[in-house]
């Protein structure tokens, strides 16, 4: 099954990417994979502290994911899968696209403020030419109705 890969983080623009991926997948009979990347934790000289940090990050992501997953199941009939990786966001996204052959499209949200589209879009578009899948960039300002109309 062809899957849309969408990135979950704390940004506002990932919301629209999530919506777009779910709607698009529902309309075209695909699936959705949600990827969240835990940044390499501040190295702490106590391993116990580091482990706890990672565990808490995981719990936060799972709680966050459940919110979106519920919406997708109820409204779009899509059952998304959650993937958690650790490392630098851009590197891990590319690594996951390469690891999972079922992923057909990478969906990113672009921020609408003056500072540019956000770090992920900037980094990933730079090597967009060598990725194994196309990237779809969803403007963070698109309204829900507009999204529904174009998917």
């Amino acid at each position: 099954m062809r899957k849309f890969l969408v990135v979950l983080d704390d940004s506002r623009e990932c919301l629209n990417a999530m919506r777009f991926a779910a709607m698009r997948a529902a309309h075209t009979g695909g699936g959705v994979a949600i990827l969240s990347v835990i940044a390499p934790e501040e190295f702490n000289h106590w391993i116990g502290v580091g482990d706890l940090m990672r565990q808490e990050a995981r719990e936060r992501i799972e709680a966050h994911f459940e919110v979106f997953a519920k919406w997708m199941r109820d409204k779009q009939g899509i059952d998304p899968e959650l993937v958690i990786r650790e490392g630098e966001a851009a590197t891990e996204i590319i690594a996951h696209v390469q690891d999972d052959p079922e992923i057909g499209v990478l969906v990113l949200g672009a921020a609408s403020n003056k500072k540019g589209p956000g770090p992920l879009v900037t980094q990933l578009t730079r090597n967009a030419g060598t990725l194994p899948v196309p990237i779809t960039i969803v403007p963070g300002d698109l309204s829900k109705e507009r999204l529904e109309a174009i998917t």
Binding site: F43, I47, V49, D51, M53, R60
Partner: protein, 306 residues
């Protein structure tokens, strides 16, 4: 190139100091430790009087923590309210520490106190780190972690306060005590105290790990700045020349260390750090216990006369 340090009253090689700053900078960048508790004993070894080493090192920590806390502010991972409570405790602790420091200095015992403190703390911390990393290497994947957020004695104390960023509603007494303790350490040992404060904040106060590092850095900056100020005005033991040389080395080293640290994430590295801490501790302990090669020494004016 020998330079004379006006406050420490010793001549040392400027490149040696730059190199020391660089090495400790690399270590702190790699391991994320403040570096204070490695730098200060190294300064003892090259002949800087402990009183000067402590006061100057506190100075350097201010500078090296500053860029760290800025990054955390940007990510909104600083609990300002909790930081302020810790800070109030820290300032009280620093004042107490400086009073103790000055009293012992007038008795001529401050060098012994500082070194003894270092032997004890480096020994305990080094041993704990060593055991922890050994255990981690032996079994890479452990079972369930201990349950968190239990309602213990911390929740039964009065003067409760709401800490929104941390999602806590606890008494201000435990964070205050943690702050005081860290403040005393900062004043006597010239360390930021993050290696004690971070676990205390997580296990004792139950703060979420996300805000712990930023909040501790926030407290450390102000407490060490205050300590430096106190040492500078009451003891005159802050050596600017020394601090600048260490800083230059430290800043460059930290950049390299941070780069190395993102590449290597091996558990073995931590054992290395633990062994280093223990080695420094052992050398300090030997110096204290063995009969010195010069039985009598002339105490200098700034180093604390009898």
């Amino acid at each position: 190139m020998q330079i004379y340090l006006p406050i420490a009253e010793v001549s040392v090689n400027a490149f040696l100091l730059l190199g020391l700053g660089g090495i400790v900078g690399i270590l702190s960048g790699m391991f994320g430790v403040g570096g204070g508790f490695l730098m200060t004993p190294l300064l003892f070894f090259i002949g800087i009087p402990p009183a000067v080493a402590v006061a100057t090192e506190a100075n350097q920590i201010v500078a090296s923590s500053f860029s760290g806390v800025l990054a955390h502010f940007r990510r909104k991972t600083v609990d300002l309210r909790m930081g302020t409570v810790l800070l109030i405790g820290g300032l009280i602790g620093a004042a107490i520490g400086v009073v103790i420091f000055n009293y012992l200095k007038s008795q001529g015992q401050v060098d012994l106190l500082v070194k003894l403190c270092y032997v004890v703390f480096l020994g305990v911390i080094g041993a704990m780190m060593f055991v922890e990393s050994l255990r981690a290497i032996r079994q890479t994947r452990r079972g369930a972690l201990p349950a968190r957020k239990k309602h213990g004695w911390v929740h039964r104390l009065p003067f409760k306060m709401r800490f929104r960023t941390s999602g806590l509603y606890i008494s201000v007494i435990p964070p205050m005590i943690v702050g005081v303790f860290v403040g005393i350490l900062a004043a006597i040992m010239g360390v930021g105290g993050g290696f004690i404060m971070v676990p205390a904040m997580i296990y004792l106060l139950g703060m979420p790990t996300k805000v712990v590092v930023g909040t501790s850095l926030f407290q450390i900056i102000f407490v060490t700045a205050f300590t430096t100020l106190l040492h500078a005005t009451t003891n005159f033991t802050v050596d600017i020349a020394l601090a600048v040389l260490l800083l230059v080395g430290g800043v460059v080293g930290a950049q390299f260390g941070a780069m190395l640290g993102t590449r290597l994430r091996a558990e073995q590295l931590r054992i290395l750090l633990a062994i280093m801490v223990l080695a420094v501790c052992g050398k300090l302990a030997l110096d204290l216990l063995l009969t010195p090669s010069e039985l009598y020494s002339i105490a200098s004016g700034a180093g604390g006369g009898h």
